[in-house]
Symmetry: C2
Subunit: 192 residues, 2 copies
Amino acid sequence: MTVRPLRSDAERTVRTILEAAERVLSRNPSASMEAIAAAAGVARTTVHRRFATREALVTTMKTWASRQLASAVDDARFDTAPPLVALYQATANALQVKVSWGFSMNSAPADGSESDEIMAGVVASCDRLFARLQQAGVLRDDVDLVWVRRVYYALLHEVAQGGDAEKTDIDTLATRVVDTLLHGAGTPTAQL
Amino acid sequence: MTVRPLRSDAERTVRTILEAAERVLSRNPSASMEAIAAAAGVARTTVHRRFATREALVTTMKTWASRQLASAVDDARFDTAPPLVALYQATANALQVKVSWGFSMNSAPADGSESDEIMAGVVASCDRLFARLQQAGVLRDDVDLVWVRRVYYALLHEVAQGGDAEKTDIDTLATRVVDTLLHGAGTPTAQL
DNA sequence: ACTACTTGCTACAACTGTGTAGCAACTAAC
DNA sequence: GTTAGTTGCTACACAGTTGTAGCAAGTAGT
């Protein structure tokens, strides 16, 4: 159920396994431990030495990914920088994490788990930022901020999963997300 | 691998199983045949009588769902109605299908399968519609139409999955999707 | 050399899921 | 009443996955 802590260069093995698991599980969420071990270039028993159960492995992946995302958000100085700058920075930073850790970030974490709490914290930061953007007149007054956040997450997801994530540079992708979130795809005069 | 066709009221059983499978698999994509049978209120062997293998069941679900989506698109008179009307209609119709058949529509169909071809046809119709919208001046000239379609799909997905899908009426949801797609959430003056 | 640590390998037990077969019972049609 | 069709149930064979244990071998530090 929990990770068995070992010594020295085992650290490296753990990282290797986590990255391989992310690679494999993002393609096939129900891939076997055997497949993960093969991708990591280690024996299946070695994986079990580090992660007692499959569940423990996945939990660790989620925690690991959520921590990286939290760092990415912190680096954008969400609460102090001018809101539009923070939004752009956070988008670029989050994309970088999301491209490499898509599986771990998309599968919902267990209630009360560490990753659950971290992700909830990120959502809270996000909501605060959008509130600031609305007060600054960047977001319309009549939009539902929860909906805005959901759209923002969906756009991040879309851009991170799309095949262009590897070959297009982060800034182009981030610009696309923020621009679409703010202005959509229509002309200003287009009316429903 | 294929569905075994039987006679009379077996038709009803098949529908029951398909709907139960959708309900169960949308919550847990790797749920067992046992769980699906239980949800359908039949014995597991009965499921196997209709669908020789698990794969056959899923394939049938995808085909079924994609046909319904194709109907929904046809009903919107994609190619003849004024483009904005068609977009709104198609959105409302598609949402109705997507809410009840989320699993079957989201999981990628096998290459060359019937559902694959149907879904490809829907994408083509969709792209034609967006091209017309661009020519009509509804969509900006500088936007990438492929990106627009991807955002549109993502918005549909978001709205159909969100908990509000059951209790909010379809027109409100469709309006939300189209409005967000066209204008985003920002004020016209907001600049990146 | 000795020790601690880690790994690969083989083997094994337990469990789960899948697909098939046979049989008794029920239903509707004729 | 007979028949065809359908279902539930039990049972079984088979595959694959998970988790554990033991042992030989390799590496690094002392």
